[in-house]
C-alpha cells in the first residue's frame, strides 16, 4: 500500500465500484466508520485490512488495492459484522463481492492441491464444499 493516495471523483465512482455495488447490492455510504464490524470480526487478527477499512476503501474507490488484499479470503462469512453494524451495512456481502470480483476475472483463488493431505482426509465435506464455494466457483 502506498502512503500517498490520489483521490478523485473518477476514482470514487469508478466502474469497479459500480460492479461491486451490483454484485453485493450494498450501500457502503451508510458506514460512519465506527469499527464495530472489525471489533467483532473473529478473523480480524489474520487480515491485512480490517473490515471497517475495507468499507472505507470502497467509499474512496480503492478497489484495485482491495482485490489484492488477503482480507476477503480470510473472511469466514460468519455474518457477525453485518448483524453488528449499526448502520445496516452488509459487510459480509461486500466481502463476497470482492471475492467475486477476483473470481469472475477468471482467476481461482484456492487450489485443491494446496490442502494439507492429512487434514483433507479428516475434513468433513461441509468444510471442503464451503471452502470451494468461496474460493473457486
Amino acid at each position: 500500500m502506498t502512503k500517498n493516495k490520489q483521490i478523485s471523483s473518477h476514482r470514487i465512482s469508478s466502474e469497479d465500484v459500480d460492479q461491486l455495488k451490483d454484485i453485493s447490492g450494498v450501500n457502503v455510504y451508510a458506514c460512519y466508520q465506527c469499527g464495530n464490524c472489525s471489533s467483532a470480526c473473529p478473523a480480524v487478527e489474520f487480515m491485512d485490512i480490517p473490515p471497517h477499512q475495507v468499507i472505507r476503501m470502497v467509499q474512496l474507490g480503492f478497489i484495485d488495492e482491495l482485490v489484492k488484499s488477503e482480507t476477503p479470503w480470510i473472511c469466514a462469512a460468519c455474518i457477525t459484522c453485518t448483524v453488528k453494524c449499526p448502520r445496516g451495512v452488509d459487510i459480509a456481502r461486500v466481502m463476497e463481492g470482492l471475492r467475486q470480483l477476483v473470481l469472475r476475472s477468471d482467476f481461482e483463488h484456492g487450489n485443491l492441491c494446496d490442502i494439507d493431505e492429512k487434514l483433507r482426509k479428516k475434513l468433513p465435506q461441509i468444510a471442503l464444499i464451503g471452502n470451494f464455494r468461496k474460493t473457486i466457483l
Binding site: 454484485i23 453485493s24 460468519c78 453485518t82 448483524v83 468433513p124 464451503g130 464455494r133
Partner: protein, 292 residues
C-alpha cells in the same frame, strides 16, 4: 406432527451420530420425519451475491422436492443447510422474476415453487414447538447434574432475517437444556464464529477461535459443550487435540451434538452415538455422570 427431513451431505457421513441421535430424540417425542426421496447438496455457504441466481438453483431444487412431499415444514438438522435453505427462500420469495429465471434452469422439476409454501425449521425450534413440558417428561436421567455450555455458532443466528433467536443474546438452547434438567453454563463466546470453512486454507484461524471458545467454556466450569453444526463440531472437537499438542496447559472439553445429550438423558441406546467419531472422548465424563 408430520414433516419432511433434509439431511444434507455431512449427516450421512461424518455426522452420522448427529442424524441418528436427532431422529431418535424426535421419535421418542412422537415425531416422525419423512426424509426427502431426492435431495441435493444445498451448496453449504449461501451465495451472498445479488446478481447470480445460478447458486440458488441447488437449494431451490431441494425446496421443490419438499413442496412435492406435501409437508409444510422441512427439517434441516445441519445448521449450514438450515441457513442456506432459509436464506435462499428469503432471497427469492416475493420476487416473481427471480423465481421465473431459476425455474428456467431446472429441467427435471415440474412443480413451481413460490417461496412460501415450505417452512424450513431447525431442530431447536422444532423441539420448542413439540413442547418443553413434553421434553421434560421424556427425560429419565433427571439427576445427572451436568453443567453444559451451549455453543450456538453463526448459522442459526445470522443474518437477522433468519435468526431463530436474538443474535446477541439467544436463550433457546439453554431453555431446552433447563427443561431437560441440565445446569446451563453461560460463557461469553457462545455465539462467536469457530472459523468455519477456513479450516481448509487457514487452520490457524480455527485454532485461535477454538482456543478462545473452548477456553471460555472451560473457565466457566462446563462439563460438556453441545452444539448443532457438523462444521463447528469438527473445528471445536478435532482441533482441540492439535492445540493440546502445542500447548500442554490447554484444557480440553468433550463436545456433543445437543441431540446426543438429549438422547442420553432420555435413556436411549448408546449405540446411536458413534463415540468413535469423537476426537475428545466424551465417555469418561458421561460415565462419571451416570449417563453411560
Amino acid at each position: 406432527m408430520q414433516l419432511s427431513y433434509y439431511p444434507g451431505c455431512t449427516l450421512k457421513t461424518d455426522a452420522k451420530n448427529f442424524e441418528k441421535s436427532a431422529l431418535a430424540v424426535l421419535e421418542h417425542l412422537g415425531v416422525s420425519v419423512d426424509e426427502l426421496a431426492d435431495w441435493y447438496c444445498c451448496g453449504v455457504c449461501f451465495s451472498q451475491t445479488r446478481d447470480n441466481l445460478m447458486q440458488q438453483i441447488a437449494p431451490v431444487r431441494t425446496l421443490v422436492k419438499a413442496k412435492e412431499s406435501g409437508n409444510r415444514q422441512l427439517l434441516a438438522l445441519c445448521t449450514m443447510c438450515y441457513n442456506t435453505l432459509k436464506r435462499s427462500i428469503e432471497f427469492i420469495k416475493d420476487d416473481a422474476e427471480k423465481m421465473e429465471t431459476i425455474h428456467q434452469f431446472m429441467d427435471l422439476e415440474t412443480t413451481q415453487f413460490y417461496g412460501n409454501e415450505v417452512d424450513v425449521v431447525d431442530i431447536l425450534t422444532l423441539i420448542k414447538q413439540i413442547g418443553l413440558e413434553k421434553l421434560k417428561n421424556s427425560i429419565v436421567k433427571t439427576d445427572a447434574g451436568l453443567k453444559i455450555a451451549s455453543y450456538y455458532g453463526c448459522m442459526l443466528l445470522r443474518p437477522k432475517e433468519i435468526a431463530i433467536d436474538s443474535p446477541d443474546d439467544p436463550v433457546i438452547m439453554e431453555e431446552i437444556l433447563a427443561s431437560a434438567g441440565c445446569e446451563n453454563v453461560y460463557f461469553p463466546f457462545r455465539t462467536e464464529c469457530c472459523g468455519s470453512y477456513q479450516i481448509v486454507n487457514e487452520p490457524e484461524i480455527v485454532k485461535d477461535r477454538t482456543r478462545k471458545i473452548v477456553g471460555s467454556a472451560v473457565k466457566n466450569g462446563a462439563d460438556l459443550m453441545v452444539m448443532l453444526c457438523p462444521l463447528c463440531y469438527f473445528n471445536l472437537d478435532e482441533i482441540q487435540q492439535d492445540i493440546q499438542k502445542e500447548d500442554k496447559s490447554f484444557q480440553t472439553i468433550p463436545v456433543l451434538y445437543i441431540t446426543q445429550l438429549l438422547a442420553l438423558l432420555m435413556g436411549l441406546k448408546p449405540d446411536i452415538h458413534d463415540f468413535s467419531l469423537h476426537s475428545i472422548d466424551p465417555r469418561p465424563v458421561l460415565k462419571m455422570k451416570g449417563l453411560l
